[in-house]
């Protein structure tokens, strides 16, 4: 079974423009897929569709279907879909609300009514994996942009979902943070997780197996990552690479 199936997906924001236009793709288990495209091309909207935020919370007009781990996103509540898809938003402030990093990461496992010991184990494991143990008692709202993204990643990793959707989580990281996230994602792929990453930096997609390119709401490329990196002219024509 494919981990993600997007079938004829078209979406228009309430009283807004059509942002996604007849998108079709499938992602298998254990694949890392990078989504590229210019600002405003629909990448973040696609992430919101995969997590069920669209259509459940944002309304608008959605046609077509999105399945995650065999579940049609129209038929399940966002809270239920969160067990299948861990979505880290482009702006981590929108998903951080607890008084400490520890509470933030424990929040979702506690809501699953896991025993306290299991919650603590998950929190400890995630803090260690992301190298943010020293921030355990820090207030998430006071952290730097890069640290907030690591905490937001921690909150979804604590749920151990089969699919991760990460919207520009590397953009505000220092070199160490970028390298660490890439290593973690490669390790998660080894464990069979499916990962979809949105990034602008071509170097950041070096770990991807496949690349999707969106342009003005259309999917204009779906191919192997190694292939697109050879397509210098395509990348330049669609303004996805530097000229030098």
């Amino acid at each position: 079974m494919d981990a993600i199936v997007v079938d004829s997906l078209t979406y228009r924001y309430p009283a807004g423009r059509e942002v996604l236009k007849n998108i079709n793709f499938r992602v298998g288990p254990g694949e890392i897929v990078a989504v590229l495209g210019l600002s405003g091309c629909g990448k973040s909207t696609l992430c919101l569709c995969l997590g069920g935020i669209i259509p459940h919370y944002l309304g608008g007009e959605l046609t077509g279907q999105v399945w995650v781990n065999g579940k049609n996103t129209r038929d399940y509540k966002v809270a239920r879909l969160a067990l299948e898809v861990g979505l880290v938003f482009q702006d981590p402030d929108t998903q951080l609300f607890s008084a400490t990093v520890e509470d933030e990461i424990a929040f979702a496992p506690e809501n699953l009514c896991l025993p306290a010991e299991a919650v603590r184990e998950r929190v400890d494991s995630v803090l260690e994996m992301l190298g943010i143990g020293a921030l355990r008692q820090a207030n998430p709202s006071k952290l730097s942009g890069g640290q907030k993204h690591l905490v937001a990643m921690g909150t979804v990793l604590a749920l151990d979902p089969a699919i991760l959707v990460l919207d520009e989580v590397m953009a505000q990281q220092d070199s160490w943070g970028k390298r660490m996230i890439k290593d973690i994602l490669v390790d998660l792929r080894r464990q069979g997780k499916t990962i979809l990453i949105v990034e602008h930096d071509l170097e950041s997609v070096s770990i991807a197996d496949r690349v999707l390119v969106l342009e003005d709401g259309f999917l204009i490329w779906d191919g192997q990552a190694a292939d697109i990196l050879k397509e210098r002219e395509f990348l330049l024509r669609h303004k996805l690479a530097d000229e030098v």
Partner: protein, 219 residues
């Protein structure tokens, strides 16, 4: 004396014991592009907010053009220093993109026809014309950042402080931003960039300072 001088500046957030900045002495001129790097959480954003008078040192002082920053109002500082926040949503508040870019220009007292011309020019450069009547907070993150940068660039301040300006920008828009920064530098305006984007820094910075353990090291 630089355009901005920091003397023995310490800063810690209220209620916290740790100093984010530990006795910083630094001068920043109006020439070229100063890039500030440092690990996540090293205090880069705190430093940039001290430069723009958004935060006040716990100890020490900051002078702008020879005047203590604490003796100036934010409006007076804003006429000389343009600040782009790491999170662009913190500075977008108008109902349309066009109004957002024109807001500061109108407050400077420019004649309305000049405001309109400048707004047009900036919207075209930053490819925001198609969104001129859109609500700024409905834009994508990359578009919001372009708008926040455009609104500050329109004011042509003497020094620009840009906190992570390339986050969310695609390579093409990064190039547009870089070209505009070079244009500002050519017209004798200074730029301070807080960034992890090594490629962008390597391309545009004329001075590199690294923040570590609350202090700066050059190069």
């Amino acid at each position: 004396m630089g355009f901005i001088d920091l003397h023995n500046v310490y800063y810690r957030y209220p209620g916290q014991s740790r100093f984010v900045l530990n006795g910083v002495n630094l001068s920043i001129s109006k020439e070229g592009v100063t890039a500030v790097t440092g690990a996540n959480g090293s205090g880069k954003t705190t430093f940039s907010k001290l430069l723009a008078g958004i935060l006040t040192p716990t100890k020490g002082w900051v002078k702008l053009n020879g005047q203590f920053l604490t003796s100036l109002t934010l409006a007076q500082i804003g006429r000389q220093i343009g600040y782009v926040f790491q999170d662009p949503e913190k500075q977008l508040f108008c109902e349309t993109v066009e109004e957002e870019i024109g807001f500061g220009l109108r407050n400077l007292g420019l004649p309305l026809d000049q405001v309109a011309l400048k707004v047009q020019e900036i919207m075209e450069y930053f490819e925001l014309t198609r969104y001129s009547q859109s609500f700024p907070l409905s834009l994508s993150a990359g578009e919001k950042r372009r708008l926040a940068i455009a609104a500050v660039f329109a004011l042509e301040p003497e020094l620009l402080v840009l906190d992570e300006p390339t986050t969310g920008l695609d390579p093409y828009r990064k190039k547009l931003l870089g070209d505009y920064i070079e244009k500002m530098v050519a017209s004798k305006r200074g730029v301070v960039i807080i960034s992890h984007d090594h490629k962008f820094i390597a391309r545009h910075a004329t001075r590199l300072i690294r923040l570590q353990d609350g202090q700066f090291a050059e190069g």
